[in-house]
């Protein structure tokens, strides 16, 4: 039991530090702690203050979380994000996961630029027994996507999962390239792409929010896949993204294997963040 308001302030300062160290960002941390401060009573113990913080964080994420959305046949998923975040691996993981649910996927090697990008997706495709469509090296990705859509329609595969090249959101040409891919998809298939996942590395700091804003503008986004949570990074930068952009976190990546993807669970995420 805390003996004074000063004790309480010390606890709240320590908790602010925990939030900052998890990459939640100073402004968001202050906002959340301020909310907790109004919630707690004089008699509250350290544990109950911590629970109040847990509730505040979970409460922030809950409206944008829900049961996993299993795609209907005919769905097109697009994977976007900055370099090295885990797009290609996450796409393969999801293809494997949907396969277990009885949905087969056609994979598209939309990264026509990086060395061995097509080969990397090809190997994953073989491992999960899913066909991979690729184009020539340095082909216009939108044209590879266009061809893939024709093949998808012809084959009648359940799902179309499209990998794209990593890119920094400050490169206007590359961001326009993504917008073009989205337009091609929308023109060729009604409502496509049905999901546009921003694949984000959990160790990224405040720049994650900038990335989310830009990708939302150019390619559109329907959700986030937060990767590499098997490391020591807490992924707190997504809290700011959810708060500001109202984007749901759909999956988390917890390793390099096909089974290392799980639907996002706010309570578990917050527990890990505060641990």
């Amino acid at each position: 039991v805390l003996r004074s308001g000063r004790d309480r302030d010390l606890i709240l300062d320590e908790l602010t530090e925990v939030l900052i160290l998890s990459d939640i960002g100073y402004a968001t941390a202050e906002k959340i702690i301020a909310a907790v401060r109004t919630d707690i009573r004089k008699s509250d113990s350290v544990d109950s203050i911590r629970s109040a913080l847990q509730a505040a964080l979970t409460g922030l994420l809950l409206p944008y979380s829900g049961d996993e959305i299993i795609p209907k046949a005919g769905s097109v998923y697009l994977f976007v994000g900055v370099n090295g975040g885990g797009k290609t691996t996450s796409l393969a993981k999801l293809a494997a996961r949907f396969k277990e649910k009885g949905l087969d996927s056609l994979l598209v090697a939309g990264d026509t630029f990086r060395a061995a990008a097509r080969e990397q997706l090809s190997i994953w495709g073989k491992r999960i027994n899913s066909p991979v469509i690729q184009g020539p090296y340095e082909a216009d990705p939108a044209s590879v996507v266009y061809d893939a859509v024709q093949s998808y329609k012809a084959r009648g595969t359940d799902l179309l999962l499209i990998d794209t090249a990593g890119r920094v959101h400050t490169n206007a040409n590359l961001m326009n390239e993504l917008e073009k891919i989205r337009r091609v998809l929308g023109r060729e298939i009604e409502g496509a792409p049905h999901e546009i996942f921003l694949v984000l590395d959990a160790s990224i700091g405040q720049n994650a929010v900038h990335q989310a804003r830009e990708f939302l503008k150019f390619s559109g986004l329907t959700g986030i896949i937060l990767t590499k949570l098997d490391g020591t990074a807490k992924g707190g930068s997504v809290v700011g993204i959810v708060d500001e952009l109202k984007l749901p976190i759909r999956y988390i990546g917890v390793g390099e294997g096909l089974e290392d993807i799980h639907p996002f669970l706010p309570k578990e995420f917050v527990d890990a963040l505060l641990s």
Binding site: G84, Q120, G166, I204, Q206, A233
Partner: protein, 294 residues
């Protein structure tokens, strides 16, 4: 050009007229926020703040006509000193071939950076040989091989048998490089988590066999608070000699640079500023300082 947080601190100090211990504390609190916004690790920020405070509360600053300006200058100078180092070229070692090993977390840019280094050193008159000891990532060998091919530089492809006995293979690669005067030998390794003890042990075995002239930590410039944990773990368990920070062509402020150098004491020698193989630049501490402050 200073970040909003620092502009605020400057404006505040100017408004106070005289600098006192009390308003310096308030100004430093604003500086702290600015540094956190730039993704500098919280512990590193506090350490840095202590140093600034000592310097800013001395006679010359307190009596200065422009104390706010003085404080910003102290911050910029201290930042540049920490980031800076005269040790900017890669170690060559005394017995050829020079050997470089690139390590770091998944996706940080190691394989691409191998290519960039090979190109740079080849242009400087070297005769590099690339080899990849990433036996895990799909198409890892293909990736480095394609990069080498694009750069018209030699690549040592491990056979299936060699992949089963990697340390023996490494000795064979080193022997070839020695006999054929291929220097530097640039060794790519698989990305790994510093908390994966088996993989960290494996990395240490590679290092012990290679006896590299540089163990280069390749870190992503957009890393947040975790930059300290991973870099420190790699330094403590493997031993690093230098750092290359990648993806500075984005708009991440790059506070990870200060975090990594502060906790490991190892110099950042180069920065990656794009995906192409010529997009590697020498590290400039003053430019990095401006970026973190901006």
């Amino acid at each position: 050009q200073l970040s909003d947080g620092l502009q605020k601190a400057l404006k505040f100090l100017r408004g106070e007229g005289k600098v006192t211990e009390k308003n310096m504390t308030e100004a430093l609190r604003m500086v702290r926020l600015a540094f956190l916004e730039a993704d500098v690790n919280y512990t590193v920020v506090k350490e840095f703040e202590k140093k600034i405070r000592e310097k800013a509360l001395n006679e010359k600053v307190l009596e200065s006509l422009t104390p706010a300006q003085q404080v910003i200058k102290i911050i910029r100078d201290e930042l540049t000193v920490i980031l800076g180092s005269n040790d900017r070229k890669l170690n060559i070692g005394s017995i050829p071939p020079s050997k470089y090993m690139l390590v770091g977390l998944q996706g940080s840019g190691k394989t691409t950076t191998c290519g960039k280094l090979g190109r740079l050193l080849s242009q400087a008159g070297g005769n590099p040989l690339f080899v990849s000891f990433d036996l895990k990532r799909p198409a890892a060998q293909d990736q480095l091989q394609m990069i080498a091919h694009n750069l018209k530089l030699p690549f040592y492809r491990l056979s299936r048998g060699q992949m089963e006995k990697p340390l023996k293979a490494l000795a064979e690669v080193m022997e070839q490089a020695r006999i054929q005067s291929q220097s530097p030998l640039i060794v790519d390794t698989a990305g790994r988590l510093h908390v994966d003890q088996d993989l960290m042990d494996e990395l240490l075995l590679i290092k012990k066999t290679l006896v590299p002239d540089e163990v280069i930590y390749v870190g992503d410039a957009m890393t947040g608070q975790d930059a300290v944990k991973s870099a420190l773990a790699f330094d403590e368990q493997i031993g690093l000699t230098s750092v290359i920070l990648t993806k500075l062509d984005g708009d991440a402020r790059g506070g990870a640079a200060l975090s990594i150098v502060s906790v490991t004491g190892k110099p950042i020698k180069y920065v990656g500023v794009g995906e192409k193989y010529d997009q590697l630049e020498m590290f400039h501490p003053d430019r990095m300082a401006s970026r973190i402050l901006g």
